[in-house]
């Protein structure tokens, strides 16, 4: 191999490996993050040419200002009822998460994942969509189910893989699925839902339906080929789909620089395909709502897909298997300058005079009650353990619509084996 020294007129190359600003022991410092003032970003008509709004990929659409006032053209002007409902849903998600996290720690299931600090990206989006629109979420959008009134007990039974689990104990906890609530089955494989959402949206367009699709993906998972597959198809066929990128800045232990965030924003990916890319304060429920509505309008008008980067922060560990203090400063999330979506919406409602601390405390109590009741209900149907709630023959169902001979034989084998174990 010819090396540097033999080519003195050529400089030596070096590999650049991105590294976050702070590691354990360092002081976390978010001061370099540029935060445009709430209300400062223009809101174009949905029929605008994407080439005219490239700037929206490099700013931050924000509605709630530091005092909790809704300002500027993106203010979705929601009625207090809707605002309170959104607050309630986000609070519910947090209460639910805490409870289930604890259940995992208590050994009642194998695994759990919270979405602390990211409640708005699911809840506010769900409120901006029609109930009939199909969501293709990741494991961090449990808020959609809550916003769509999916029973908590159903969710818990799934987490426990118990007798009440409609998925028959087959999926890892939190991999919910509910067709009726427009919640596509979560996959353990990152990114696969993205082209599927586009296919669903294309199908809706082929049939002259009016329902659109919305998908979510993490900042880390945008690197998968399926991200590109999805956006390519969506752009080419102008599929009625909203492509959300939840940039919580971490992918397990890996910061978003390794996903490409050093050089540009994730919303800018949209620019690369000639579709709109909106960069949105993901901790601002009104901004999330407004951007989602805008993208939904575009999709419904046959104007095609929109990428929405939801800029947020993963406040807690990746999952129950993760300890973030090993790779980033402790309590980094608490210092996140864009605040907590729950607190921000609460402040907004307080400012409007449509909420007060008493009602807030009462609601919190009530949600705690609801979750406890649901949990009791769920645990009546069992928790995960070495004696599974599902019977052995059920293991062979649903591989195919009909059981072929080899699975029939294997089912017999499994039954015989279970007999022998006793």
């Amino acid at each position: 191999m010819k090396r540097q020294k033999e080519r003195p007129n050529r400089p030596a190359l070096a590999l650049h490996v991105p590294e976050p600003d702070a590691r354990p022991g360092d002081e976390v410092d978010f001061s370099h993050i540029e935060i445009p003032a709430a209300g400062s970003v223009m809101r174009p008509d949905v029929a605008v040419a994407p080439s005219e709004i490239r700037d929206l990929a490099y700013t931050l659409i924000r509605v709630l200002d530091d005092e909790g006032k809704a300002v500027g053209p993106w203010d979705p002007r929601l009625d207090p009822e809707t605002l309170r409902r959104m607050l309630r849903d986000m609070m519910m998600v947090r209460v639910y998460d805490d409870r289930m996290y604890r259940a995992q720690r208590q050994g009642k299931t194998s695994f759990y994942m919270k979405c602390t600090g990211e409640e708005a990206v699911a809840v506010a989006a769900a409120h901006a969509l029609d109930r009939e629109d199909m969501c293709f979420p990741t494991y961090r959008q449990q808020g959609i189910l809550v916003a769509r009134d999916y029973p908590l007990t159903e969710m818990m039974c799934q987490v426990y893989s118990n007798a009440g689990d409609k998925l028959k104990g087959r999926q890892l906890p939190i991999m919910y699925s509910d067709r009726e609530h427009g919640f596509f089955t979560i996959s353990g494989n990152l990114g696969t839902q993205y082209p599927q959402a586009v296919g669903w949206g294309m199908a809706s367009a082929i049939k002259g339906d009016s329902r659109i699709a919305a998908a979510w993906i993490g900042d880390g998972a945008t690197a998968e080929g399926d991200f590109h597959n999805a956006v390519t198809f969506a752009a080419v066929y102008r599929a009625p789909v909203i492509l959300n990128i939840v940039n919580n800045q971490w992918a397990i232990s890996t910061f978003s620089g390794i996903a490409g965030a050093e050089l540009t924003t994730f919303a800018a990916r949209g620019v690369g395909y000639g579709i709109p890319g909106l960069r949105v304060d993901g901790n601002d429920p009104l901004a999330v709502y407004a951007a989602t509505s805008w993208a939904a309008d575009r999709a419904r008008s046959n104007l095609g897909p929109t990428i929405i980067e939801l800029f947020t922060y993963r406040v807690e560990g990746h999952s129950t298997s993760d300890d973030p203090s090993v790779y980033r400063p402790q309590n980094a999330g608490a210092k996140w300058p864009l605040g907590d979506p729950l607190e921000r919406l609460k402040a907004h409602l307080l400012g409007l005079g449509e909420w007060d601390e008493e009602r807030h405390a009462a609601l919190l109590d009530q949600l705690g009650e609801e979750v406890r009741a649901a949990q009791k209900q769920a645990e009546k149907q069992g928790t995960l353990g070495n004696s599974p709630a599902q019977d052995i023959p059920s293991m062979f169902d649903d591989v195919f619509e009909e059981l072929p001979w080899h699975l029939k034989e294997q089912r017999e084998q499994a039954i015989a084996e279970a007999g022998a174990k006793k």
Partner: protein, 337 residues
């Protein structure tokens, strides 16, 4: 009855089904206006419109992922992968998503979709236009894999695949698109017209998935084959004067174990025959199944006659291809032992 070659039969299956069911959409690289590089989808865009037959971007992962989303919506997509050798970028969506969708949702979502792909060698296509990757799919739970050997079956099986409510991989041996190639490559090519299975009904009919056919009845040795190899097997048996029973599996998952067992128990000898590489090929599965189920009937070891464990070479096509010479030696051995 009309006489069709394999391409025409496959084209007709699409046409019949698109006409019957507005939920069927057809897509893939070059399948739209042009009608596919092998012309299997010719005329469909003109007849059914661009939103039911269209060209796709060149990304097999995208094609499969999008087809899954369409099937989840309720359509019945039929996607072409231009060559089986190019199916791997879509492998993750097939294995991780299509194969497990029904299972992971306990039936809430299921995927009536077909992935068609020209496959196999014998056309001097080199290592990237000759592969037979069926074993990779046979190992994946939740996927059916079908490989027709003639026009009648191709149409009937493709219609059955389209009607099936689970994902089906449909591999079309491209060497026999235009005629039943028997492995004697020095001889002139026979067109389908002279073959009885080229008589293909115009309209709807099915050939059920999971059922083998006895392509040639015989008593002395059973040859398990599918696709092009069915014709090579028959021709070899005739050439060698061996009273072989040739089973055309047609579907490899689920495989028709009854037909296999009955034949091997009758003949007591078995040769498994495919074009794919040997190690871990579907022949290993067949050999294991036969041995497990017919052990006490076997008079000689089950042999595998296959492609070699190398990439498909360009110039040495016929040294690689498992033709009559390779099979003939194995048949003689099966009968001697």
């Amino acid at each position: 009855m009309p006489v069709m070659n394999m391409i025409q039969a496959i084209n007709s299956a699409h046409d019949v089904m698109m006409d019957r069911d507005p939920n069927i959409v057809v897509m893939g690289e070059d399948v739209g206006y042009f009608g596919g590089v092998f012309r299997a989808t010719e005329g469909l865009q003109k007849k059914y419109g661009r939103s039911r037959t269209f060209d796709t971007p060149i990304t097999e992962g995208g094609i499969v992922g999008v087809a899954i989303g369409m099937a989840a919506y309720g359509l019945r997509p039929v996607a072409e992968i231009q060559f089986a050798d190019y199916i791997y970028p879509g492998f993750d969506q097939i294995v991780s998503e299509a194969g497990r969708m029904r299972y992971r949702t306990a039936g809430e979502w299921f995927l009536p979709m077909v992935i068609r792909s020209p496959y196999g060698g014998g056309i001097f296509g080199g290592q990237t236009h000759s592969q037979s990757p069926e074993a990779l799919f046979a190992h994946v739970a939740g996927i059916k894999t079908v490989i027709p050997s003639n026009p009648y079956d191709a149409k009937g099986l493709l219609i059955a695949a389209i009607e099936d409510n689970d994902p089906v991989i449909f591999f079309e041996p491209k060497r026999i698109y235009n005629g039943p190639f028997d492995g004697f490559y020095e001889r002139p090519v026979t067109p389908w017209a002279k073959h009885p299975a080229a008589e293909v009904p115009e309209g709807y009919y099915t050939v059920p998935l999971g059922k083998a056919a006895i392509a040639r009845a015989g008593n002395d040795v059973t040859i398990l084959a599918y696709g092009t190899m069915v014709h090579v097997a028959i021709a070899t048996a005739e050439a060698e004067g061996i009273d072989a029973e040739v089973i055309d599996l047609r579907t490899i998952v689920p495989v028709d174990i009854e037909t296999i067992e009955a034949s091997v128990k009758k003949t007591g000898r078995c040769v498994v025959f495919h074009e794919a590489t040997r190690t871990g090929g579907f022949g290993a599965e067949l050999s294991a199944l036969v041995q497990e189920r017919c052990f006490y009937h076997l008079e000689s070891p089950v042999q595998r006659v296959t492609g070699f464990d190398t990439p498909y070479p360009h110039s040495l096509e016929w040294a690689y291809f498992p033709g009559p010479a390779r099979l003939g030696l194995a048949l003689k051995k099966a009968l001697e032992d």
